[in-house]
Amino acid sequence: MTHLLEIQGVCKHYGGVAALSQCDLQVHEGQINGLIGPNGSGKTTLFNVITGYERIQQGAVHYRGSEITNAPPDRVFNLGIGRTFQLTRLFMRLTVLENLLVATQRDEGWLRTVLRRAGSASEKRRAMDLLEFVGIARLAHEPAGNLSYGQRKLLELASLLVADPAVLLLDEPAGGVNPTLIGHLADRIVELNRAGKTIVVVEHNMEFVMSLCSRVTVLSQGTALVSGTPAEVRSNPAVLDAYLGGEDDASTQLELAAEAARPHGQVTPGPGPAPPAAPAPPATPARPATRARPATRTPPTPMAPEPVDGPTPLLRVRGVTAGYGGGDILKDVSLDVPRGSITCVVGPNGAGKSTLLATISGLLRPRVGTIEFDGAPISALAPKQILGRGLAQIPQAHSLFGEMTVRENVEMGAFTVDDDALVAQRLRAVEELYPIVRERAGEKAGSLSGGQQRLVEFARCLMLDPELIMLDEPSMGLDPQTRAMVFDMVQEMNQRGKTILLVEQNARAGLRLSSHGVVLENGSVRLTGSGREVLEHPEIGALYLGGAVTRPPARAAGD
């Protein structure tokens, strides 16, 4: 049986980073197909490849049995494949109605386009019907730029439907939309599906995907990992691995097994489900045991700051609420980063991890709450002043200046330092630590591989000799080997006395590395404890995949 849309062996690289590698996907006609996977797993890239926004050198895309690989976007649309964008794209200065009249009616020819009046009576009627269908007909004559975020999502969907495409590719239709509207959107999608449309949904909202889709495909690191019914996908341990970061090679497997067998602190029962039974008695400890603290499942409502034992933490966040525009992304977040620790913040997409870092580094001001660094409040300081206190951030991938040389990039790190001698001395130290800075000094940073770029970013950050380094997803888009190297580097920085606050999509690898773990979900702290305790908490799977997910006990026990 041939599928309506079939993607075979698609590969897409950006510089040294592979966004898609040998990716396959079958879209079943007349169904709602879900496409899920952690950040950077290649979902949007796959949409871009299908719709002709990205060209591929390897692989093939077939639609109704004929090849459409690398067909331009207008042709793909005229064949009957329409798509929406993750960040809604509209014609902001046109009215809502005009937005619907732009789309062509399936290849109508040049002369007819030029001579035809925009919006005949029947076209306008149809456009109004579609606006009625999505529920924004009363806004027909408003400029699209005046719509709210959710209304924009609805308009984008409606604008596709004008040309009556057979396949709809929806990139995060529920992203950033309030719950009522999510329900409304889900209803529309179901109705469209009943009317015969084939739908592919990329979505991070698991409830949405699992309830809507008849088939779900999981992408991980640019490859289709699993495909099946929602139930099958949920119960497949490989899927959870993809979200939490899998065991990449034999050595980590062994390490995990050894670790799992190691005794750890008693888990105190929280208001959640019962914690797992303590595993079997000791084997050989794999590494020096981190000081185990009880994992407390933080109750969602009123949350007392976690009592701190011992010396004041280097960074202390108390009751912080922050967000962009109208909404709060962080809600009453409190956490500590003890001096000398590696503290890892994990959580599903959209949990507020990057927002947390932006708030700490001063790019975003908290609406409520305080942030203290080294005992002094910093939440009112400008980003540059915070940097000056010794708190530096390495942002998510691709933060180097690609057109500048490696050396220039590293020197940029110290541009707030006036003392030339000190800069030179630090540069030598950094070159010592990361030989690549000297070896490739004159090359453009953009020509380096993904992993090499990370090293240069580390080097740049160390030019400031900060006390606390915040890392945002250092492993993103890297292959397993490079990722292991990057994590080694993080550990090494820590051993040299740097305190590290790590945000990591690859929760398993991040937590294993860390002395402290924090789970954020939906803007609130859900779990805190030592890295291991958080990692082994039974609820963590549910936090990522929605619903109750348990890892097979045999695996957890390390057999």
């Binding site: 719709t51 926004y53 331009p72 976007p73 207008d74 793909v76 649309f77 005229n78 329409g82 798509r83 964008f85 794209r89 509209l90 014609f91 902001m92 200065r93 046109l94 005009e98 009249l101 732009v102 789309a103 062509t104 399936r106 290849d107 040049w110 386009t113 030029v114 001579l115 035809r116 009046r117 925009a118 919006g119 604008s159 596709l160 040309a163």
Partner: protein, 342 residues
């Protein structure tokens, strides 16, 4: 409905004023300002069909102005057209040549976007200026003399004035037609988000090129008219970078992407410039006035005069929605004209 009537009345009044202007004002100095102003109104309006609607800032339309001028001059010389109304018959040929030249120019320039596009159009412009200076058939730097029009000295300007006005009407009708067609809507969509338009099946490259060519033709025609009026053509005037800047400035001033904006901008700026040149007999003084005016518009009405005023009126009307008095009457009339501009 009342807005519509007001708009029609407004347009009729403006047209009537333009028609009777040279009949009332017979001073040749004034009517020649009229001719230059109409030439620039055509140019700014035509430029707006491409740049205003699609958002692609072209700064090389003097290529079409000069090409049209040279086409008419060469045709008159080689086909022995000796003046009078016959030379006006060559203007469509000037437009045709400009349109044909716009095809390869557009194919090259429209491979790029945004800043690169601006730079490419400027570069192409200089290529044409150099070519006009160095190719044999253009007469090099000494240029070409056009036939001398045999009109009486007293009414010499009138034929030029009315032909230019005819071209202006045709250009504005094309501009309105484009704006109302699906083509025009798709150009506006390209202005807002070209990639998204592509993803909705819009054949962006083809449409952009069509608009580019359409905008070149009227400019080629008034180019021919302009140099027939002036009596000679040579490279520095035919391919003048100030022409590129002026028409863009006029469209910006009046309101980019509107129908009446470029017309208003050209009417104000060109007549002002000509007046200042005549009064102070210094060609550089008007540049200072230009600069001041441009800064003022950018600071006060960054979207251009027409959309800016329409917005102000909209706000005032919203405030005084309850009591329609004589003031509201006047407002709706002006807003009606502005509404017709969209």
């Amino acid at each position: 409905m009342r807005d519509r009537v007001a708009a029609v009345v407004g347009v009729a009044v403006v047209v009537a004023l333009i028609v009777i202007f040279p009949l009332i004002v017979t001073d040749p100095a004034a009517t020649s300002i009229g001719v230059f102003t109409l030439v620039f109104m055509v140019s700014a309006s035509a430029w707006n069909i491409f740049s205003g609607y699609s958002g692609y800032l072209a700064l090389g339309h003097a290529v079409f102005f000069g090409s049209g001028g040279y086409a008419v001059a060469l045709a008159a010389r080689d086909w022995h057209v000796t003046g009078g109304w016959a030379v006006f018959g060559l203007l469509p040929f000037g437009g045709l040549v400009a349109g044909l030249i716009a095809i390869p120019v557009g194919l090259v320039a429209l491979r790029t976007r945004r800043h690169t596009f601006v730079v490419v159009t400027i570069a192409i412009f200089f290529i044409f200026q150099l070519a006009a200076t160095n190719l044999g058939f253009t007469g090099g730097t000494s240029g070409i003399l056009l036939p001398i029009a045999p009109f009486s000295a007293a009414n010499f300007n009138q034929p030029f004035y009315y032909v230019a006005f005819g071209i202006l009407i045709a250009t504005v009708l094309v501009s309105i037609g484009v704006r109302r067609s699906r083509f025009g809507l798709q150009l506006l969509a390209i202005r807002d988000d070209e990639d998204r338009a592509l993803g909705l099946g819009v054949k962006t490259r083809r449409l952009k090129l069509s608009a580019f060519v359409i905008s070149a033709v009227p400019i080629g025609m008034v180019g021919g008219l302009y140099f027939y009026f002036v009596g000679q053509i040579f490279p520095q005037f035919a391919f003048d970078p100030l022409f590129d800047l002026s028409i863009a400035l006029m469209a910006f001033l009046g309101g980019l992407g509107t129908i009446t904006g470029p017309l208003l901008g050209a009417a104000v700026l060109e007549s002002l410039q000509q007046y200042l040149t005549q009064t102070f007999s210094s060609s550089a003084t008007y540049l200072i006035a230009y600069g001041v005016l441009f800064l003022a518009v950018i600071l006060v009405l960054p979207r251009g005069v027409i959309p800016g005023i329409a917005e102000l009126l909209e706000r005032r009307r919203a405030r005084s929605a309850s009591g329609p008095g004589p003031a509201a009457e006047r407002e709706s009339q002006v807003a009606g004209v502005a509404g017709a501009a969209r």
